[in-house]
């Protein structure tokens, strides 16, 4: 298994900087998702790893060894493009065996491996078909089979699911996870879909405007965004602006609703404008006669209720705050009903404005 490292990687097109000093390590056998909006430089980063684009500065290292001078065909990588790019003049078997044929593997070995890989992607019966005779999902599986058959050191995937419909996308997501775990290939996966990144990745790197803004586990990125932009991109709804007041190991965010105790703001500077965020499912909601002592408890009113994905999401207005609250219990509150909300300080994450 190979470790992939990008070191201060830069790519400039004319006077436009598409990739701006990216440092990133993909641990051997793990899957890292590069997540960011369209045009933030994800594809360009991937193409530099593949050697299809030459870095303006910085380095790409496989197991600590620079590959910048190595031409694409000798990097021993796999890449699945956004469009599947199957060779239309070759049938499935020929497409899948292409990499082996280029490596001058013997015919019997090729036959054995093709049969093996086609079984893994469940396309045994379609070996003689041509790409134009396959569905989108089947084409995608051929593209993946063709890529993994050569045992690449690093697997690169550029939004491989964006051309599939929702149901198929879910299936393929599960398939890719299984395959990647099974084969243990170091993988860099590009997507603009945060759900996809969270579900697939061991680590997520969030990119904006060519920069890597945050790198961490899906849980970290999701619950503890480092900037407002990351929070917005991850679909965080509850953003509470205020001013920080740091004392000893705990800190308080003075918001419109009064002081909010936060556990994790200690490294920020007192007096700084900051934003606190909390996931909708981390807010407790109860009847108004519940206890009102302790930090971060408010009385509010249900403003709206939406049933989505098996749970009820309420919009609660409390002391000038508008909070989204997801309640997994079987209780039902009516719109207009009085409630108390409680946010555990450990779930309130603070980052600078």
């Amino acid at each position: 298994m190979t470790e992939l490292r990008l070191a201060a990687l830069v790519k400039e097109f004319d006077d436009f900087t598409a990739v701006d000093h990216i440092d990133l390590t993909v641990a051997p056998g793990s899957l890292v998702a590069l997540l960011g909006p369209s045009g933030c430089g994800k594809t360009t980063t991937l193409r530099m790893v593949a050697g299809l684009e030459h870095p303006t500065a910085g380095d790409v290292l496989f197991d600590g060894e620079s590959v910048v001078g190595v031409p694409t065909e000798r990097r021993n990588i796999g890449m699945v493009f956004q469009r599947y790019v199957l060779f239309p003049h070759m049938n499935v078997a020929k497409n899948v065996s292409f990499g082996l044929r280029m490596r001058r593997v013997s015919a019997t070995e090729i036959e054995r491996k093709v049969a093996e890989v086609l079984e893994v992607v469940q396309l045994q019966d379609l070996a003689r078909r041509f790409p134009s005779q396959l569905s989108g999902g089947q084409q995608q599986r051929v593209a993946i089979a063709r890529t993994v058959i050569t045992d690449p050191r690093v697997l690169l995937m550029d939004e491989p699911l964006s051309n599939l419909d929702a149901k198929l996308r879910e299936e393929m997501r599960a398939f890719i996870t299984r395959l990647q775990r099974q084969l243990g290939i170091t993988t860099l996966f590009v997507t603009h879909d945060q759900v996809e990144a969270i579900e697939l990745a061991d680590r997520i790197g969030v990119m904006f405007d060519g920069r890597l803004v945050q790198f961490g586990t899906p849980e970290e990125i999701f619950n503890r965004p480092r900037t407002k932009r990351v929070a917005d991109f991850m679909g965080t709804n509850n953003l509470i602006p205020g001013r920080l007041d740091v004392q000893r190991d705990a800190s308080t965010l003075v918001s419109v609703a009064g002081p909010l105790q936060c556990a994790s703001g200690a490294h920020h500077v007192s007096g700084e404008d900051a934003i606190a965020t909390v996931r909708p499912e981390h807010i407790d909601i109860g009847t108004p006669n519940g206890p009102l002592q302790g930090p971060n408890r408010f009385t509010g009113r249900i403003d709206d209720a939406v049933y989505y994905g098996g749970t009820l999401t309420y919009r609660v207005v409390a002391d000038g705050l508008s909070l989204q609250v997801r309640d997994r219990s079987t209780r039902r509150f009516a719109v207009g009903e009085e409630v108390t909300v409680h946010i555990d300080p450990s779930h309130l994450w603070v980052f600078p404005e």
């Binding site: 593949a50 299809l52 493009f81 469009r83 790019v85 060779f87 280029m102 490596r103």
Partner: protein
């Protein structure tokens, strides 16, 4: 994308045929008459022994006079070595084949660069490629003749083949540029990622994928080469005869369309027709779908 456009084109053409308005019917008739019409007198003349104005048909046919004549007549003469028709036809085909091959080999990389790369002076190169089509052939021919005489290339096959590259390469480069523009570079990049070097990528992926376009372009290069008169005439200096120069020497003497000239004129058309039949499928799909050099 290309496939869809191709299918669309054929559909439209089929529709046209299915329901032609009065104007459409007139138009098609006109085109057919204009294309096929001139061949009819040629065909009749080639089988005539005596055909006087204003008779509709010859008063005496070739086969009627054939037995009594002392010299070979009409088609007999055309196919006899004296007429040099077969020799010229051989030259024409040989030259056209070599020109097509060379022209393709030279144009492929050039078109690839023009379609794929941005570089300074690109628009100048594109314009420069058009100049042989703009500058009169006679000017080009005279200039080259002087040089070729010095180089000892005048009157040689090499000289003729080189000079035939002048009108064919610009054409071929334009056709192939549009072919390359229609081929997403993803395919070549995918091949590289899978371990194919540049040459093997070209051989296993690029060429098979652009083959219909290359064949269509090659066909036209062949047709252009086999129809060149002036440049062949200048550079060949009468030592190397092709069908167009032979035909010219047959008819340049004087007005009457004799049976032999008519026969030669018909034979001049044969290489083109054969190529057209052989590659008909590709032409329909590629050239007409893409337009000429678009």
């Amino acid at each position: 994308m290309i496939a869809r456009r191709r299918a669309g084109t054929t559909e439209i053409r089929r529709d046209d045929r299915d329901r032609l308005g009065p104007f459409g019917r007139f138009y098609v008739t006109f085109v057919v008459v204009a294309v096929v019409g001139p061949f009819i007198p040629l065909l009749i003349a080639s089988f005539a022994f005596r055909w006087n104005w204003p008779d509709l048909l010859p008063s005496r046919w070739w086969w009627e006079a054939r037995e009594t004549a002392r010299l070979p007549l009409g088609w007999d003469y055309v196919f006899s070595p004296v007429s040099r028709v077969l020799e010229s036809a051989g030259n024409t085909v040989l030259i056209a084949l070599l020109v097509t091959l060379l022209c393709t080999l030279i144009s492929l990389p050039a078109a690839r660069v023009l379609a794929r790369e941005r570089f300074r002076g690109k628009s100048f190169v594109e314009f420069f490629l058009l100049t042989p089509l703009i500058v009169p052939e006679i000017a080009v021919g005279l200039g080259i003749l002087v040089t070729f005489i010095q180089l000892g290339l005048a009157g040689t096959f090499t000289g003729i083949i080189l000079v035939h590259l002048i009108p064919t390469i610009p054409y071929m480069v334009r056709v192939l540029t549009s072919v390359f523009q229609g081929l997403s570079r993803d395919y070549e990049e995918q091949a590289r990622v899978l371990g194919a070097g540049p040459l093997r990528t070209m051989w296993h992926v690029t060429l098979p994928m652009i083959m219909p376009g290359v064949i269509a372009g090659g066909l036209f290069a062949f047709l252009i080469s086999s129809n060149i008169f002036l440049l062949t005439f200048f550079i060949g200096r009468g030592r190397i005869e092709t069908l167009p120069t032979l035909l010219f020497s047959r008819v340049s003497g004087g007005g009457a369309l004799d049976a032999v000239a008519a026969g030669v004129a018909l034979i001049v058309c044969i290489p083109g027709i054969i190529m057209l039949v052989l590659t008909e499928r590709f032409i329909k799909e590629e050239v007409f779908a893409k337009g000429f050099g678009g």
